[in-house]
């Protein structure tokens, strides 16, 4: 492999049609617009087709990669490590309830609703629907600011209606990143991605449905039942257990294999792993020995 101006040249490998083509090694993340922050995908691209993908998470004490890459980025400076000791924002009410703190059902629904709206904002932005992304983000901000159920429902229902009814969106995202329930369960996925049992469009529908349901119940003041198993925005939350987002990271490489670049972005956005969850659990494990 030659060097040009200190940069390695693209090497060659067989592509899926048996042609020998240039391949580029391109890291995506940890920061990129509308990308789960902290996630690094090491892609091997031929043209804009993903040949191989390896998952890493930056700034976490333990490598979470699977497949080829097991090593974490070694050069992560301790000072730049995100404050993983802080509990992951989107899971907060559920974690508090698990610790025995009284959390109202409304507050939990509000956080869940906002978390899905946040994911939907990224998803719509990645599929190139800026308007709907802006609407979803506005609704998320209002939800977190403590708006009433009536106002929140009025904000989210046009978003839900437009996204559900859009035949273009269905045509564009159907068949992208199909994750069967069986496959999902095998990798320990527990959240909306398991419920969806299908492609990126199905996962979006699950989010939309949960947003609609959550928005109607943000004013409920009864306490969250701590004995029941908590299910956060990414899936099951249990203290000390493998975080739900780990399962999402584990399924990524096989879903990305052979995907076109734009599809790869849609797949990542439709799973939307929350790397705070992983950092949190890793830290907790190190502390408890």
């Amino acid at each position: 492999m030659g060097l040009v101006d200190g940069l390695p040249m693209a090497d060659r490998a067989d592509d899926r049609d048996g042609l020998r083509l240039d391949r580029l090694h391109v890291p995506l993340g940890p920061v990129l617009t509308d990308w789960p922050s902290g996630l690094v995908l090491r892609l091997t691209l031929q043209g804009d087709i993903v040949q191989e993908a390896a998952v890493e998470a930056v700034g976490i004490g333990e490598a979470v990669g699977i497949g080829e890459v097991v090593e974490n980025v070694e050069a992560v400076d301790q000072a730049t490590t995100p404050p993983a000791s802080r509990s992951p924002f989107w899971d907060e009410p559920f974690l508090l309830a698990a610790k025995g703190v009284r959390v109202s059902q409304g507050d939990a629904a509000r956080r869940l609703c906002a978390a899905h709206l946040d994911s939907l904002g990224r998803f719509f932005a990645v599929v190139g629907w800026g308007d709907l992304a802006a609407r979803a983000r506005f609704a998320r901000d209002r939800a977190l600011a403590g708006t009433s159920a009536a106002e929140l429902t009025a904000l989210v229902s046009p978003v839900i209606r437009r996204a559900e009814r859009s035949r273009t969106l269905r045509g564009l995202t159907a068949g992208v990143g199909v994750l069967s329930g069986e496959h999902a369960r095998h990798h320990g996925v527990t959240g909306p991605a398991l419920v969806a049992d299908g492609d990126a469009h199905a996962r979006m529908l699950v989010w939309l449905e949960a947003v609609g349901r959550g928005a109607a119940t943000v004013d409920v003041s009864e306490a969250l039942d701590a004995t029941e198993e908590a299910v956060g925005p990414r899936g099951r939350i249990a203290d000390g257990a493998t975080p739900a987002s780990q399962g999402l990271l584990d399924v990524l490489p096989c879903l990305l294999d052979g995907a076109e670049f734009a599809c790869a972005r849609i797949i990542v956005a439709s799973l939307d792993p929350d790397l705070d969850e992983i950092g949190h659990v890793t830290m907790a494990r190190t502390h408890h020995g």
């Binding site: 040009v4 101006d5 617009t33 691209l45 190139g128 629907w129 800026g130 308007d131 273009t168 849609i266």
Partner: protein, 314 residues
């Protein structure tokens, strides 16, 4: 037939195009800002948003340009500069009312040839910076070209067929009675789609998409960026404006003078496009190409056949 415009029109044309492009970009910025709440807001806020594209241009012009390593700067520069040049050259055959800068005998072919220069421009701008994401943007435009160009050519050929001439002035004259959009609706619809596709704008913005961090434009900065993204708006304006002489009767219309009708119709087409883009997500070419080849191309052929039969029996 269209009259020849005076020589000074050559210098006025680019200025007029830039003014229209800035106005359209301003309108788009206002709508984009209003998308968040679903309301445009006060007139004052709208004015602030409307001048945003202008402010962006100034910001890019004073900004320190950045370069990527081992980039092919001349190539990227040629690509960026080619886009506005192609747009202005294509506009040479655009009649304002019944006068165009040059009413070439093969005006329609000229327009299509200049528009195809954008293929080279986007590819060069994408290849030049030696960056994977902008390279992907470049690839995408070639795929897009393959998808939209076939139905597009058939659509503009249909208009030429209806007028039995490739001269834009004669196409306008042929619509003194009935607009082509009325009896060639499929060709008109396909043309509007390809107008957006050739300017890689709106639902066809994949070559400079958000998911590739700006694609072909990702690494362009300073004047290059202004030329490239500005050229894209110019191309959109020219492509939309060309639908007026082709399908909407050019300067024909009651009461008002010809130039006023051209301006009104062009504004209406642009407004429709700017509105429509907010309603749909970005079309990925791997999916769109199926629609383009399986549905739009046969549709365009049937449309051309229909027009040919009508013309033969006239």
């Amino acid at each position: 037939m269209a009259e020849r415009a005076p020589l000074w029109a050559v210098f006025v044309l680019p200025a007029v195009l830039v003014v229209v492009a800035v106005a359209v970009a301003g309108l788009d910025a206002v709508l984009a800002a209003g998308a968040r709440t679903g309301r445009i807001g006060s007139l004052r806020a709208a004015a602030v948003h409307a001048v945003r594209p202008g402010r962006e241009v100034l910001r890019h012009l004073v900004q320190q340009p950045r370069r990527t390593r081992a980039s092919d700067l001349p190539l990227a520069r040629i690509g960026a500069a080619l886009l506005p040049v192609a747009a202005v050259l294509a506009a040479v055959v655009l009649p304002l009312g019944f006068r165009s800068v040059s009413d070439l005998p093969e005006g329609i072919v000229w327009f299509n040839a200049m528009e195809a220069l954008a293929w080279a421009a986007v590819w060069l701008a994408g290849w030049g910076p030696n960056s994977a994401l902008s390279l992907i943007g470049g690839y995408r435009f070639l795929a897009q070209g393959l998808a939209y160009e076939l139905p597009h050519m058939l659509a503009i050929t249909t208009a030429a067929l209806g007028a039995e001439s490739l001269r834009v002035g004669e196409v306008v004259d042929a619509q003194a009675g009935l607009w082509f959009a009325v009896w060639m609706p499929a060709a008109f619809g396909i043309y509007l789609l390809s107008a957006m596709a050739m300017a890689f704008w709106g639902p066809f913005d994949q070559p400079v998409g958000v998911d590739v961090a700006g694609g072909a434009a990702a690494e362009l900065s300073g004047v290059d960026r202004v030329l490239f993204l500005g050229g894209r708006w110019l191309l959109l304006v020219v492509a939309a404006a060309f639908s007026v002489p082709l399908f909407l009767g050019g300067g024909h219309g009651p009461l008002l003078p010809g130039w006023a009708w051209t301006v009104l119709k062009t504004a209406a087409v642009l407004a429709v496009l700017v509105w429509a883009r907010r309603r749909v997500p970005t079309l990925r070419m791997e999916r769109y190409v199926e629609l383009a080849w399986v549905v739009l191309t046969p549709l365009a052929v049937v449309q051309a056949l229909f027009v040919a039969v009508v013309v033969l029996n006239r």
